[in-house]
């Protein structure tokens, strides 16, 4: 079991390294990005992220990290190290879970949305999230997902109870429509 298996595996797939010390923030964001078509690697602290980036055969295109990340470096220190280790890397720092979710939404707006092994389930789950929350359910609306929409979708994608998700200091979801069902 080694990372040599990386070589030749899905070479065209854009890879995001999601770096967040709070698993109930990291998990739904990672799942959301996977549904958007990214390959997502997860690290709970900067030491894990450094271990990944030190392996040149592991492709990473984007790092999505929180600033107050556990580990021997904070987010700024890690970003400085990562830029020197991999100058081509795109690094996105988030100061809050809201910003991290917003960054993920922007990545999906710009990224390989459903361009690689396409799974109808991805589109279905997101569009159903809109539908359940009283939003628009047309598949084409997914790219219009703003932070507000993303925050409303993420708990559904991850099936995380709202009270659990809210405990991570995410902003309150906007007022639900009368058609909202739970």
């Amino acid at each position: 079991m080694n990372t040599s298996a990386e070589k030749g595996r899905r070479p065209a797939m854009q890879t995001v390294l999601a770096l967040d010390g709070e698993v109930l923030v990291r998990m739904p964001i990672a799942e959301y990005l996977r549904d958007c078509g990214y390959r997502v690697l997860e690290a709970a602290n900067t030491d894990g992220a450094v271990a990944i980036l030190q392996k040149p055969d592991i492709r990473v295109d984007v790092v999505l990290a929180e600033i107050e990340i556990p580990g021997s470096m904070n987010g700024f220190g890690f970003a400085q190290w990562a830029r020197s280790a991999r100058p081509e890397l795109r690094i996105i720092l988030a100061g809050t879970p809201e910003r991290a979710a917003d960054n993920a939404g922007e990545l999906c707006d710009q990224g390989p949305l459903f361009t690689k092994p396409y799974q109808p389930s991805s589109c279905w789950s997101i569009s159903r999230g809109f539908s359940l929350l009283g939003g628009r359910s047309a598949k084409g609306d997914v790219k219009a997902g703003s932070l507000t929409a993303l925050l409303r979708i993420l708990p559904i994608l991850a099936r995380v109870p709202s009270k659990v998700f809210m405990s991570t200091n995410l902003a309150p979801a906007p007022q639900q429509s009368p058609h909202t069902r739970h």
């Binding site: 079991m1 602290n45 659990v164």
Partner: protein, 137 residues
């Protein structure tokens, strides 16, 4: 009876697997293999993360390294699964001998091949296996 409003393109449910392993490169490789086999995989780097995930979302299979950051982390996960997650398959892994005090469904001696975990899950979750046409012998 004809359903006038069938759910369009509803995908079959994917088997959910929680994989708890503190070594990030091991976690990366094994989770890649599990996802390539169509499982939905949640990653935990320690027992606290694993239990947070288990409290937040149901899974069918838990794979836990016995020796995470704290020596007994894997046992903490195992006890939580047995106490609070009935029906969940519990797979343990370690470079040392399997535990004799905890009930588990399978044990994998490190280093193991990730495909062996895939085969075990397929064999024991045949009715909910996401891909019946397994290419693994």
């Amino acid at each position: 009876v004809i359903d006038a409003n069938p759910e369009p393109d509803v995908p079959p449910p994917r088997l959910k697997v929680l994989f708890a392993e503190d070594e990030v490169l091991v976690r990366l490789v094994v989770c890649d293999v599990l996802r390539e086999n169509s499982f939905q995989v949640f990653e935990a780097s320690d027992a606290a993360e694993a239990i947070s995930i288990l409290k937040a979302t149901p899974v069918e299979v838990v794979v836990a390294d016995l020796h995470l950051r704290a020596a007994s982390d894997g046992m903490v996960i195992a006890r939580h699964v047995r106490a609070h997650c009935p029906g969940v398959s519990l797979l343990l892994a370690s470079a040392n001998a399997p535990p004799i005090t905890e009930h588990f469904d399978a044990f994998f001696m490190k280093p193991y091949q990730p495909e062996h975990i895939v085969m075990w899950i397929r064999r024991h979750h045949a009715t909910t296996s996401p891909r019946e046409d397994s290419s693994i012998a």
